[in-house]
Structures are given as C-alpha cells and as structure tokens.
Symmetry: C2
C-alpha cells in the first residue's frame, strides 16, 4: 500500500522541467469542480453527509483505472506537518488544509492527478503537468471526469452546466492555470503592466502558492476567471493565447537582457549559485529568491552543470514541511534554516 511517506522518494511529475516552453512555464494545471447530485454542498452539509460523500467518491475512485497506484489520505488522520507537506506539493489547496471535518485527497502515481474531497465542492479533480500543455491535459482529465461522472452522477443543469458551491465556478467548473517563471519581466519592471492587462482581460494572476501570496521566486500563476457561457475548449484556447503572449514578452526580455547586460546577468546568476552551494544557514525567502536566479541561469543555459528538474524540485523541497518530513521530526525555524542550507548544498553538489 502506498503511504504518504512514499511521496518523499520523488517529486511530482510537474517539476520535471519537460514539455513545451518549459524554460518559462513550470507547469500547467486544470481543475474541475464537481458535486454529487442529491447531497448538499460541503459547507451546508453536516458531518454525516460529508462522510457519506467522501465514502461514495472513494468507492468510485477505487474502481477507476487512472487511480490504480494511488494514495488516498483522510486529512483528519494527518498531522499538521503532513497537511502542510501536501500543500507545498500543490496536491491540496489552502482551503482544504484549513477546513475541519471529513475531507480527503487522492493522489495518482507521479502526482499527475489528484482529487480533493469535501473542499468547497464535493470533488475537485486536478491534473498538473510540466511545461505549457493544456490540450493533452484536457484530454486526460476529461476522460477521468467522464468515468467518475458515470459512477457518481454529478449535479448538472442543462441551462447552467455543472453546479458548484460558489457561482464563480458554475458552468464548466473549470479552472485552467499555468505557473510562469518571469524573472526578467520583474527585473525590467514590465510585469505590473502585464498583470494589469491580464486582469482586465478577466484572467487572474497570483504568486507561487495561490491566493493571497506574494509572487515569491518570480513565479506567477495565471488562470481563467470565466467558467460560464463558454465551452471548455474555448476557455482553454483563450488562456493558451494569453499565456503565449506572456511567454513571448518574457522571452523577448531575456534576449534583450543577454544582449545588453550579459555580464551583470552572469554575475547575478553565478553569485546566487555560489551562495546556494556554500551557505550554512538560509531562510526560505532567500532560498527561493536565489533559486529563481539560478533557474534563470539554467533556463538561459548559462549554468550547464545542473539540470532544470533539479532546480524546480528544490523550490518544493526547501519548504518547511518538506524539510521536516525529510528529517523525520519537527524542526525549529533555526534548525530548518540549517537543514535547508544542507539540503541545497547536497543536491547542488
């Protein structure tokens, strides 16, 4: 049986640094919000109902061919560190982590698919893949959605589409997002204007860790806001178009930077690499900032001795719960800063 600690042996497939435009797009993600017919939405349901929903979905998952080697975790059986660990891996949302009561997550092999149960909606199905890839992801998640739908029966209105706890998700129930690494748009200060435009076009832009967090490490998550009145394919085509434009801006900035400030860029990258390889104490914030600079170096092929997946993985591994899981015990903030530096040194050797 797969256990939570087995996740420690690897990192998610989405960190592998492969796929289209993977020098700029870390990962692409699609989430579908679904609810079971004849059950009240999670936040209106009592524990008994929530438990019934959870068990019903679990049974459907057990039958699914996509979740054969999967890991099923009930959150009220997990420690705070384990929950934080799942959050750091992008396998659950902050909302699911903060909730009480019967709730669960199911994680497929390589962490490509996951299902949150009793988050805001009964079921949130997610696919996350490396690089810029929505079409294939949509094909895959759509198949699982169909399979689960035929077993579970989702709340659906022929007029509105899928019914969801929050009206902002009604219709397709789909949220497509990509995690973009945009360091040079931050350096040349064009990022704000671009994010403003994105927002005007009814897309959302957030930092690495979702809602309400700063854009640490120059990562920006761009997602659709509109779920109603357009087909899934339309939404995907819209977001593909907008993300392609942001990619072009970042690529253009990188070319200019290399042309006009090669030495300064090399200096910044090499210093970041030097500090990461040598520090004995490092905070999470500093580590993420330096890793962002190092990632740019790797993606620009200025640093050739390490590969993209290694840097990508470090963004996840240096986080507090990961350090504590790796160490097998709770760590004070001071101990974490030391263990973080140790882990980075070891990996970059």
């Amino acid at each position: 049986m797969t256990k939570l600690n087995d996740l420690l042996k690897n990192t998610g497939q989405w960190l592998k640094g492969t796929g289209a435009n993977s020098d700029i797009v870390m990962s692409s993600r699609i989430r579908l919000a679904r609810n079971l017919k004849k059950f009240p939405f999670t936040d209106w349901a009592d524990k008994k109902n929530q438990r019934a929903v959870l068990e019903k979905i679990k049974k459907a998952i057990d039958k699914s061919s996509c979740f054969k080697k999967s890991l099923f975790l009930k959150l009220d059986e997990l420690s705070n560190i384990d929950i934080q660990f799942l959050l750091e891996r992008q396998l659950i949302s902050r909302e699911l982590a903060a909730k009480k009561g019967p709730r669960a997550v199911c994680i497929s092999d390589k962490e490509v698919f996951s299902i949150m149960i009793n988050e805001e909606d009964h079921l949130r199905l997610q696919i996350i893949q490396p690089g810029f890839d929505f079409s294939e992801s949509w094909r895959l998640i759509d198949r699982i959605d169909d399979e689960l739908s035929s077993n579970l029966g989702f709340a659906y209105s022929s007029k509105l589409g899928f019914l969801t706890a929050c009206p902002t998700n009604t219709g397709t129930g789909m949220r497509a997002s990509a995690m973009l690494h945009l360091p040079t748009l931050v350096i040349n200060k064009r990022i704000e204007k671009i994010l403003e435009t994105i927002t005007k076009l009814s897309f959302a832009a957030r930092g690495l860790y979702g809602e309400g967090t700063e854009a640490a490490g120059n990562f920006f998550q761009i997602s659709n806001q509109i779920t109603l009145g357009r087909s899934e394919t339309d939404i995907i085509n819209d977001i593909k178009r907008i993300i392609k434009q942001v990619i072009d801006h970042e690529r253009d900035s990188r070319i200019r930077l290399l042309k006009n400030n090669l030495l300064e860029v090399e200096d910044k990258i090499c210093r970041a690499y030097g500090i990461l390889k040598n520090a004995r104490i490092i905070s999470s914030g500093e580590a993420i900032s330096l890793l962002s600079t190092l990632k740019l170096g790797v993606d620009l092929e200025l640093v050739k001795s390490i590969n993209r997946s290694l840097v990508n993985e470090l963004f996840v591994l240096v986080q507090p719960a990961h350090l504590q899981k790796i160490e097998g015990r709770a760590l004070t903030p001071e101990e974490r800063d030391m263990k973080r530096a140790q882990l980075i040194r070891k990996r970059l050797k």
Copy 2:
C-alpha cells in the same frame, strides 16, 4: 637586470603567511629614517642637491651585499600605474608616490628590504617580514643600517640621535609596526575601545594602506609614536608588549565566537568563499571585505582547501594597479571589476 615587471612573477615575502602568530599578524615592519650629513633635508634641497643625494645613496647600495639581486627604480621614470603598483605592494609610501623631483626606491630580493630615497628624509630603510617578528627584523635591518652608515655618514647628534626632517622621527628614527587582522574584534565591537587605549599609550593605529585610510578588510597597522629618549630595543619591547595584548584579545574573541556562534561564523565564511569563487564582477571594496572573511575562515581552519599565503596575496593582487600590470594595459573601473573577479576565481580554483 631585474625589472619592475619581474615583481609580477611573485608577491613579497611578507605575504607568505608564515612566522609567529601569523593567523593574526600579517606582517611586521621596521622603518629607519636617515639623512646624509652636509646635505639639506629633501624638502629644503634643490633638484641638484636631491640628485646628488640620490646618486650617492645608489652607489652605497650597489656596494651592499644585502641588495645584490635588487631592483633600483627612479620614480620620475615610472608611469602612474607603476608608482601605484609599488604603493600597493607596500614598497613605497603615499608621500613618495605623491612627490615630484629626483626620488627612487631600491627593492631587495623577495621584497624583504627596501630603501626609499628622497622621501621626507634622504633615506628610509624598511624591512617587512611575515608574522609577528621584530627581534630578528631588528637584527637584520641594524646590520644594513651599519653598513650604509659607514659608507654614507648619517646626520647624527650625540645628544639627539639621528636627525630627521620631521622632529617626530628624531632620535632612533625608527618606526616599528605590525599589520594585524582583527575581524572578530570588529564583529564584537571591542575594536574601538582597544584602539583608543593604544592611542593613549602613545602608539598609532591605522588601516591597511597607512595614514588617513579606513581599516579596510579589518586590517589595523599598529606602530610606535615615540622615537626619542628610548633605545631601539626599548621601543621594540614596548610595541611587542602592546601587540601581544591585542593578539590575545583577538584570539580570545575568536575562541568565544567559535564557541557561541559557530554556525553563523561558518555561514558567513562559506558565503564569502562562495561569492569570491563565483562572482563575475566585483569591486575592490567588496573583494577586500570578502577576502577578510575568507582569511578568518582559513586562519580558524574552517576552510582547509586553500592556504593562508593565497588569501594574503589576493589582498594585494586585487588592487587596481596590480590588475592593470597583470593585464598589461590600462583598464576602466568596469573592466577592473571584471578582471578582479576573474583573477580571484582563477586563484581560488
């Protein structure tokens, strides 16, 4: 014939990091101020007289056994970069560099002895050795002084001792100084109190590059102020005593720091090493500051992969004129910052 550019092949003996207490004392130096009888002091003399003094001293040096493989340089035949280069190597003073008219420097093999001609006094004889060593230095310089004296006839009063252009040097004409690396007394802020005490006891404390410069790289040059009314041996014993106390304070601070803040110290040292090994652009100020931290690491045996002489040498090599001499051409400040980083990377490899 030895040429100025031959100096580039090596660095001075005083940088070798050997000798007593060489983890704290970079070098010990003794300078003797001497003037020829029957010639006016340099600043009162016309060019003809200055030239006569220069030629007379040159002849005496040519006969001396200690200056057999020496380099004799007339400063008005040198470029500004060459003069700056000699200053950076501690072979001439700022005053000699800034002066006009016939003036020269003679440099012995390994740069242990040097003689400035027509600085403030006709002759300034210097010995500079690695580590904390005044007794042997005094023995050596005293012998050369005797030899030169018998050939030249120095201005001497049985009442006052050696006569000098400035009365503060009259008597022994001797200035003994040691260059101390005191990073932990700077960290724990005890340095100011110590320097204050030194000054009260009639000793002077200055930065790395002599009068009027900041204590860059945590180097402090401590020297006697009193030259009159005490014998050379008394003066040397006095300064040995005071320097021994400063050494004890620094050593005590180092032990405390290692005991109470080992990880922080290691972190600081390793980061400095990491930046020095990786930077592509580095200013003189930053380089000296990071090298000071690295030197502490080497002296505390926390960094074992490089030896003390290598770090000591870098303090001299990273200076502007050295970079330009090594490169064989004038460099803009931007080019120097790049070449400095390159040189440091190469040497630390």
